[in-house]
Subunit: 258 residues, 6 copies
């Protein structure tokens, strides 16, 4: 069960999309990011990573996947030209508007698929807003967390390292160019700095990714292979859908909007 571009709502004709949403009462949305990932991975790494899982999740849920656009909240990468960023308010508005359309078509359950850490707080507020306005029940799937949790040794939690390389390989291997890699930042230094921002109890808020890695990335992209990447993507999608179903079952159907 590999990629499923046929689940992208924009590639479906209206009758088919309407049928899937109404029958399943469910839809998938996914966020992106266009931000530097060194020379070996594309700017849209996080967008492709999320889309890859979103398509697979939509197939498992027998419904559509709707993109929130390739760009996310990534202002702390803007020092590297080519990075794009939405303000949090903009992404919240896109999320809410898109969920409005999906809810109007009958979706009471939304699975929000994300890969980019910088989007997480914004998407949570967006889900809160969409729940209040459109009466949906949103489940958030943080697919980078799932990947790292399911495959902790192999899928390293770096920037542009093995985990992100695998995510792009599972989407489109032609987008990975290890031969173009710019110099990596020392991995131990990157991990130590990055860990500061990921502490659960006391943590700073990212202003400039130079605080983590002066060359923009660190990690071991060379550890990822297309075959393994595909297996991992499938496992991540399986996990996300299984958990989402469990949550919806536990919480019951969403009520009406406020």
């Amino acid at each position: 069960m590999p990629r499923h571009p046929d689940r992208l709502i924009e590639r479906l004709a209206q009758p088919a999309a309407a049928r899937m949403i109404a029958a399943s009462g469910t839809a998938v949305v996914f966020a992106g990011s266009v931000e530097q990932h060194g020379g070996h991975l594309p700017l849209g790494t996080d967008a492709f990573a999320a889309q890859s899982i979103a398509e697979r999740a939509a197939a498992r849920l027998d419904t559509v996947a709707a993109s929130l656009g390739p760009v996310g909240v990534a202002h702390y990468h803007l020092a590297w030209p080519g990075t794009l960023s939405l303000s949090p308010g903009t992404l919240i508005a896109v999320f809410t508007d898109v969920c409005g359309g999906l809810a109007a078509a009958g979706a009471r359950r939304i699975l929000s698929v994300n890969w980019h850490e910088g989007n997480s707080a914004t998407l949570r507020l967006a889900a809160d807003e969409a729940q209040g306005r459109h009466g949906v029940r949103v489940v958030m799937a943080e697919t980078h967390v799932i990947s790292h949790t399911l495959f902790p040794g192999e899928m390293e939690f770096t920037h542009a390292g093995s985990m992100e390389t695998a995510a792009v390989l599972a989407f489109d291997p032609s987008l990975v160019h290890l031969e173009d890699a710019t110099p990596a930042t020392d991995r131990a230094a990157g991990e130590a700095a990055h860990a500061l921002f990921r502490r659960p109890d006391v943590y700073p808020v990212m202003r400039d990714f130079h605080d983590v890695a002066v060359t923009g990335w660190y990690g071991r992209p060379e550890l990822a292979t297309p075959e393994r990447a595909e297996e991992i993507a499938e496992a991540v999608a399986d996990h996300a859908v299984r958990e989402a179903r469990e949550i919806w079952a536990a919480l019951g159907p969403a009520g009406e909007g406020r």
Copy 2:
């Protein structure tokens, strides 16, 4: 010179994208729409049509093309479930944020590529805002108007007819399914009703596309062929780029933002 997905900023690595934008001082952005187009064309018809021309224009300008996301302003199609719509304010915010990133990378000239009539007024205000905030000079390319103007008899100005079918064929022929077509509205009736909304002097503002076509579409999709579609897309891209260059040459470089 067919499609150029390699010009999509999210598919490029940061060094390459930065180089192209800086060297050309130019970038392309494109808007979309996810709205019903009967049973034979995908919901994202307008998004694909714009992307197809945006990629080609970016290749001609030797720069990147950045998507504003698949969804546009299409609330008057919401009566057909599966349609999605941004509020105008949301699309303006996305446009402005994206242009901010492109301007930071050195783009002083932005070509905005659009296919969807319902986006036009919003994109104009967005360009106005981006010009004021980021010091760019934006040129708008309304590619549906170009298509119809260059090939007036052949490219009919209907909804989901020959012109839009050709636009999708030039992007990805596998997305067209004439065999799934839902019933068309009478073409003469559709044209007469649609013409009301397109008068340049006195005109209503669309609330519900049922006012144009009760079945959601009208026109002759069967007139389009992949070969001809490709020729037309190339001609449209040629035209857009030639005119944009002429305008930038006439008006000179943009100054600094307000």
Copy 3:
């Protein structure tokens, strides 16, 4: 049937205004602009031009005309001190608030009368918002386009030339002072530059009117006369009302707000 200041809602007492709106189910709104028009025409040229037609249209529709205020969206004239400008968001808010009051009084049909090109995209979004919020059906009358279309040779599409002079003459001849004219920009040069911005397919968005005319205006104000101006204003009002009625008849009454 000359000017009709008695149709201005602020000049009517409440019982009379309420009666007209309720009986006709219709109201007229009009936008303005306060922007330089050389030395011979007043800053409020576009405001007076719109008001002149709005009053006449209101008389024909047997209802009231409500001003959105003299100021419009004209930032690209701000290099000439004395120009005033609203941001597009401000004008949209005024339009929506005013239509809310008219709708509450029973207006289901709104005729929006405008003369100023720089307002058009903003007013279209405003009408869209008002339709969604207040359940009205808005018809836009672009009276400068009507004038030029009905009298193409005579009413030149310049800035502060014969067409705009005629429009002011039809409102109040004492406001025209040809003897105070500042130097005109070469007419051919002005027309060529202005035409760039008016192309329907590929066009720039105005940042500074110096790009059209370095002295701020061009055209032949001396061609306009008060008598002819009055005839033209009447013809424009006739046309706007006839077309609006045709549109409302074709589309039927507005439904309830969203």
Copy 4:
């Protein structure tokens, strides 16, 4: 020194307006309201009252007067159809935008002329915003308060009574139609109820003017005469300008915007 429509910025040509603002460093703005005033006074009573004083003040200050549009904040009169109202945020935006243009033309001192009690808090916040953004020094003239204070017995502080009738007479006597008066509310009852809302220490905020006068108005319009009205308007303008000059002298010139 009667009315001075020649001071309205929209009636002036750009060179003259620019000259006046630059030479005086001062400009006048005025707010309005379109709200029911029984059958004998026009909906725009407050707008005309403010304009009448604003024109006179502008003449005294040798500068321009700029309208903020006829409509103000008057939602508590909406139960009477024909009333229009801006939300406070809309009026603040109009005020700020207009002051931005005046400041760009050289106005460091703004005199804000208002007649409508319902606008006062909104205008104060608007002035605060304009001061912060545009570096101007705004003085507020509450002309209904001035009128009542200067002529306490004669100019009664009612709604649509002698003071408001005089204000309209001083603007345009043809707008007053005592013969069309709808029934007045008992004056003592109206005064007592209105006084509740005008207490300086503990007071309610108006929701519906029925709480003051069930027929919409009370007072003695018959006490006003055109001759006396003109004298009063002149005295009010004298007072406003004298006080404003005293304030500007005491506080010194405005600094630059924040």
Copy 5:
């Protein structure tokens, strides 16, 4: 009947708070300010003054008092570091959100207690918004005005003088440190300058409190004593509650929200 911290909603458990609000149909809210008051009074002088009266009023009304936070609109004191300020829009949002919760618990009548002149216009607009959105009837109590009006000679209307010192003494005498007083501005000069801003008819809007007092304060704090302060606070609370009850009785219960 001294202070009543047990009336602060945050100090109550949910069942008790819910019971009080439902039984009384009433709630008290109070605004603050954190702004310099020389060396002898705390930054939160206005916040404590309002809280002191709000608690007492809540006890009299047998309901809860809810803080809008210690910070108010005080940007014109920012030249003295340590001052904090909300923008008016922020305070309006807080007020409206808090009233929403109180209304949901059954409060149809809100008493808004304020001490800080700089909050008044903002709170009035906030009350207007809350009335429109939540169907409550808001009465404003300007407790500094009440204090000065009830005790005109004794409670001087200065900044950081006897009236404000008394207000803090009635809240917590340990917060007053006359021994730390920074130099006062000449009292007559301060009063004269302050009076300009308090004229009811023509007045400037405060930009910087240096325009009133170059050292930040003036007045006679030494005139206040704890015993008298307590008597005054009780009288002010009595007055506010008596007037509010009279107003609610006169105007009847609030209707439903818009």
Copy 6:
């Protein structure tokens, strides 16, 4: 080193507050929440818990602590009357405005102290905004997480259980009334349901706390004692400050605002 109300900025006079902020280059802000916590804990439990740690942290950092107001984002508790909630946008605005004042007084480092889970995503976006606008470096201290992490067995991660009871005891023991406890929800059921919302990888967004505990709370408040509560509060403050200092040292001083 127990509570330190003398560190609350509103209780300090301006000279002292200014001195502390300037000398330390640091300030503490803290958020609250007013939401039901059964019958035994006050509505402001989370506000008091945060304040208790914020005061202690401010003492350790030798600077001031500034409240963002008692109310936070807690709409999912609104089904229990007495709960109050700000919209996320409102809390972001308060945070940003308050940090603006602190930054103007010389704070380049802000420690944001929070106890309420429902505020976390909002505060993160607020910190991001404040960093961009005011050039500060914000460190977030999630004190409920610290408490639970430092004392995992003892400080249970429930709602209104031992950890929250201890937090209130460390602030003011008189606010705890175990004798008034309403019935608890089964602890195992509450923990299982709550855990769904706290998963790091796939999780729902809270709509109504009934999904966690139908009676509104669960846990063992009886396990907490005042003595132990005080020890824990000190340990939490120690930890927060130590980690914050480490982060500021690692990342260096903040630059200037965007």
